[in-house]
């Protein structure tokens, strides 16, 4: 029982972080049909900015946190406006290749600016000890709860933005019916920039949360990109709910496989879930039934 609880709490923590990352990919994919492979490198870059402030310049954790989020927003907007916009009119594969190039370039830039070493990144809350309920020890730390809560709050704000505001309506219109949106006066270009900016912000949040209490190196987000992508595909690639559920399914699977089967088989477990889901429902768990030309 104790093992089950601990594996579940660990799985949820990782699942939520994968979900946050999957959400970035979904945000961009459903508007532009582009998988942004640079997302992880963008998040790594902004996490290094936070590191520079918090560790090297002794600023409070929250200053670094805020700067990372703002930088993520701006970097996302910049990449869409300056780089991706130029290749958007061509086949989608062109833009995807460009994001792969950005991924390599950004990681190299991080290496040049900050070096290749592993650097300890602080956590704002206790990241080493769990808590006890009666006799049962739960391995979930205060930092884990902070990670989960942060993602949930950010997700709530994002959903509220999309659901209840005029900007959100414009964002959805631009994503789902570009030509119609333009005919109705929606500045689609601006909405795409904003979408990339929001994805950048969310990615930066995920980056800082993943780094907290651990170590960063230029490629520290690579596994998150891969598992975030798997989570997004599990969820259907164009659904927010799908990204969250996909992330949780993946996180829990990995945790259970590690605990009950073998730690070396974690990635095989992730792959098995992906295969089973895609065989049963090729569009992913929450794919919309609306067919679309790709």
């Amino acid at each position: 029982m104790q093992q089950f609880l601990n594996l579940t709490t660990t799985g949820i923590t990782f699942g939520v972080l994968y979900a946050a990352f999957a959400l970035c990919l979904v945000l961009i994919f459903r508007a532009t049909r582009i998988i942004n492979f640079a997302q992880g490198a963008q998040a790594a870059f902004t996490t290094y900015l936070a590191y520079e402030l918090v560790v090297e310049r002794d600023q409070p954790y929250w200053v670094g946190f805020l700067v990372a989020l703002v930088a993520g927003f701006l970097l996302g907007a910049f990449i869409e406006r300056v780089v991706v916009r130029r290749v958007e009119t061509g086949p989608e594969i062109n833009a995807v290749i460009v994001t792969l190039g950005l991924f390599v370039a950004l990681e190299a830039l991080i290496g040049i600016l900050f070096g290749q070493d592993f650097l300890g990144f602080p956590a704002p809350f206790d990241a080493s000890s769990g808590f006890a309920v009666g006799d049962t020890q739960i391995a979930q730390t205060a930092n884990d709860r902070y990670r989960i809560l942060s993602v949930l709050v950010a997700l709530g704000l994002l959903v509220a933005l999309f659901r209840f505001t005029d900007v959100g309506l414009r964002l959805r219109a631009a994503a789902f019916g570009q030509e119609v949106a333009r005919l109705l006066g929606v500045r689609v270009g601006r909405m795409l920039t904003l979408g990339w900016a929001l994805a950048g912000l969310f990615g930066s949040l995920a980056g800082v949360l993943i780094a907290g209490g651990g170590f960063i190196s230029p490629g520290f987000m690579q596994t998150s990109v891969i598992f975030g992508f798997v989570a997004a595909v599990l969820g259907g690639l164009d659904s927010f709910v799908g990204a969250i559920v996909g992330g949780l399914v993946l996180g829990l699977t990995q945790s259970y496989v590690a605990g009950y089967v073998d730690g070396d088989l974690v990635n095989m477990g992730a792959l098995a879930v992906l295969l089973v889901v895609l065989l049963a429902k090729p569009g992913g768990l929450f794919s919309s039934s609306v067919a679309r030309k790709v």
Partner: protein
């Protein structure tokens, strides 16, 4: 109100419009008729800026709008209802309607009631996702959405496509009524020439990108030779 002058539009090597001119006065319905491939849809897309003409000009109230971005057209008073029922299927009926007036500052959600009064079927479905609507309801939704933009010129592309005659008559009746009451100018593109001429004031017949006839709707409907050659009835 809307003037199209000698417009030439090409798709690569294909000449889609070859010097088309027509005018759409306020308070009138101008129908553009012709077979598939005559250039009707291209004409509307050129007018609203979705495709750029090689030559010629589009003027609204005497001002050249040929090079304006698509997004700016609606602010100038032009609403374009594209072919194939341009509902955004992932949004609800109410959200689709709201988009119609979103570019205006001070647009109120309550304005949607005007559309619900015109098309009561939509009121019952306001919170449903638009992909659950029937073809007729979708057409009502896009026409209603365009009206919430408060346009002075309305471009309608094949509104009768795939709809039951009763629904076509209902939608055409509402458009005709609006034109008479508000002085709206309508540029209607239709393959269904018979119904279109029954509500239009003027007809323009296109064939292979050229205007082959411009006359009053009654005169066109009475011209047997033209009807047989180009209008299919």
């Amino acid at each position: 109100m809307l003037e199209v002058r000698d417009v030439v539009t090409t798709y690569g090597p294909v000449l889609a419009l070859d010097g088309v001119s027509l005018s759409v006065p306020a308070g009138r319905i101008t129908a553009v008729l012709g077979a598939n491939g005559a250039g009707k849809t291209t004409l509307l897309r050129t007018v609203s800026g979705l495709v750029r003409p090689k030559a010629g000009a589009v003027e609204l109230d005497g001002k050249d709008i040929t090079r304006l971005p698509v997004e700016a057209m609606v602010q100038r008073g032009m609403a374009h209802v594209p072919e194939g029922r341009g509902v955004i299927a992932e949004l609800t009926v109410a959200e689709n309607l709201k988009l119609g007036g979103l570019f205006r500052k001070g647009a109120k959600d309550s304005e949607a009631d005007e559309v619900y009064d015109l098309f009561p079927a939509l009121r019952e479905r306001r919170d449903r996702s638009a992909h659950t609507l029937s073809g007729g309801e979708r057409q009502m939704l896009v026409v209603g959405r365009a009206l919430l933009a408060r346009p002075r010129v309305l471009l309608l592309d094949e509104p009768s496509l795939g709809l039951a005659p009763r629904v076509v008559a209902q939608i055409f009746g509402i458009v005709r009524d609006l034109v008479d009451r508000t002085g709206l100018a309508v540029l209607l593109v239709e393959q269904n020439a018979k119904s279109a001429l029954s509500i239009a004031d003027t007809g323009v017949v296109l064939n292979l990108g050229r205007v082959v006839a411009t006359d009053s709707a009654d005169a066109l409907a009475a011209d047997e030779q033209l009807r047989h050659a180009f209008l299919g009835f």
